[in-house]
Amino acid sequence: MNITSSQYLQDIEGNNSSVLATIDGQVLYVPVDAANTHYAEILRQVAAGTITIAAAD
C-alpha cells in the first residue's frame, strides 16, 4: 500500500477513533482496529519509519 497522508480523527468524545488516510490514491476513513488491514499496514509503516500519523486537528 502506498500511503501518502494520514491523520488521526477524533470522535465527538475526543477519542482518536479513526485515521483519515490517502492510500493508493484513495481517501479512506480507517478505524483504529488492529484487525483492519489498512490500519495494520499504517502501523507497520509507522513502525518502519516510513510514515507518521499526524495528530488530530
Binding site: M1, N2, L9, Q10, D11, I12, S17, S18, L20, D24, Q26, V27, L28, Y29, V30, P31, D33, A35, N36, T37, H38, Y39
Partner: protein
C-alpha cells in the same frame, strides 16, 4: 433389518466449499478495471485479489465475464494482458489470491494428529497453452505447497488433493478472523520465486524460490488471456462437484468483507446533537473487522470530521449546525474489511 447409517453423502454437504464467490458471480466494486499491475488490490470479482510484487511493466484488464463453463457458472474472472513485460525482475509476481479466515478452516484440523487432506479444484482456460501454478499458503505458519496446471483454449477442470499438514504437531490454524490460508494462482514470477525446485509434494516451510518454479508468464504477450471460475476448496481426498450456491448467500458472504451503501441515490446526514450531524449505518451483515470506509462524493460538505466504526455499525460525524436549506448527503460509500 436395520441398515447401518453411512457417511457416504458427507462429501456433498452444503457449505463444503471454503472458497467464497468461487463462481465469480458477485462483483460489487466493478465488472471491469483496466491498467492493473502497479499495485495489489481487490478490483472486480469479490474476494479475489490481484497480488503483485516488485514493479513490473506488465498491465492487465480484469473483468467479471459472462463466459463460464456451462452448468458450472455463467461467470468467470478474466485477465487480459494489455502491456507485456519481457524483462522479468527477480521480485516480480502476479497472482490471483483468495484469503480465508482461520475460523473458517478449523474443519481441516491442520497441524495436529488427525489433520485432514484438502482438495482444491477449479476451471480454467486461456488464449493458448500455458503452465501456471496454484499454491496453498499457510499464513499462520509460513508453509506452502504448489501444484502446476496447464491451460488450453477450452475449459478444463483441475483437481489436486493435498496431503494433511501435521506441521510440528502444535500449529492448528488460528481460530480467529485473520487470514490463515491463502490460495494463489501464480501467473507470472521472477527468479526470487522460481529459481528453486517447486515444492509440490507436501506442505513445507516457505522457501520463496520454491513457490512458483516452472510457470510461464502471463505478461509474455498482449494476446494473452486467462479465465478462472468454479474454484472449490474442500476437506477430504475427493474433488466433489462444484457446489452451487444461491446468489443471496454468496452476496451475504461477500458483504462480510465489502459492500456499498447508496450506490444509487444519496444517503442523508441527519442531525445528531446540537452541533453535529451524523450518518448512522447498520451493516447488512456482521463484517470481519471494523471496516474502512470511503465516500464516492459529498454534497454540501467535504469530509467527515470523525467516526466510530465497528463490525456492525458506523457513526460518522460532521460538525455542522442544522439549517433548513442545505441537506448534507453522500453517495457511493464503500465499506471494506478485506483480508
Amino acid at each position: 433389518m436395520t441398515k447401518a447409517r453411512t457417511n457416504a453423502s458427507a462429501s456433498q454437504a452444503v457449505g463444503r466449499n471454503m472458497v467464497i464467490n468461487g463462481a465469480m458471480n458477485v462483483s460489487q466494486r466493478a465488472t471491469s478495471v483496466t491498467g492493473i499491475g502497479a499495485s495489489s488490490g481487490y478490483f472486480t470479482c469479490d474476494r479475489w485479489q490481484i497480488n503483485v510484487g516488485a514493479t513490473s511493466a506488465g498491465r492487465l484488464t480484469m473483468t467479471q465475464t459472462a463466459d463460464g463453463p456451462n452448468g458450472i457458472s455463467a461467470n468467470c474472472l478474466k485477465l487480459d494482458c494489455t502491456t507485456a513485460d519481457a524483462s522479468i525482475a527477480a521480485g516480480e509476481r502476479l497472482s490471483i489470491g483468495h484469503n480465508i479466515e482461520g475460523q473458517n478452516l478449523q474443519r481441516i484440523g491442520k497441524g495436529v494428529a488427525g489433520a485432514q487432506q484438502i482438495t482444491v479444484s477449479f476451471y480454467v482456460k486461456a488464449s493458448a497453452s500455458f503452465t501456471f501454478g496454484v499454491e496453498l499458503y499457510d499464513q499462520d505458519a509460513g508453509r506452502q505447497i504448489t501444484k502446476l496446471f496447464d491451460t488450453t483454449t477450452d475449459w478444463v477442470r483441475h483437481e489436486f488433493t493435498l496431503p494433511a499438514d501435521l506441521d510440528d504437531g502444535s500449529s492448528p490454524f488460528d481460530d480467529d478472523n485473520a487470514a490463515s490460508l491463502g490460495m494463489f494462482f501464480w501467473l507470472h514470477a521472477g527468479s526470487s520465486f522460481t529459481s528453486g525446485t517447486l515444492n509440490t509434494a507436501s506442505f513445507a516451510d516457505d522457501g520463496t524460490s520454491t513457490r512458483a518454479a516452472g510457470i510461464d508468464s502471463f505478461f509474455s504477450n498482449t494476446a494473452n488471456n486467462f479465465f478462472l471460475t468454479g474454484v472449490q476448496l474442500e476437506v477430504g481426498p475427493v474433488a466433489t462437484e462444484f457446489e452451487q450456491e444461491d446468489i443471496s448467500t454468496t452476496l451475504a458472504k461477500c458483504q462480510r468483507y465489502c459492500y456499498f451503501l447508496a450506490s444509487s441515490g444519496a444517503e442523508v446526514i441527519v442531525q445528531y446533537q446540537g452541533s453535529y450531524r451524523c450518518m448512522k449505518v447498520g451493516h447488512p451483515v456482521t463484517m470481519r473487522a471494523a471496516p474502512t470506509f470511503a465516500v464516492g462524493s459529498f454534497s454540501n460538505f467535504s469530509a467527515f470530521g470523525g467516526s466510530n466504526s465497528t463490525t456492525t455499525s458506523l457513526y460518522a460525524y460532521v460538525a455542522k449546525e442544522f439549517d433548513d436549506t442545505n441537506s448534507l448527503t453522500v453517495v457511493n460509500v464503500k465499506f471494506e474489511s478485506e483480508l
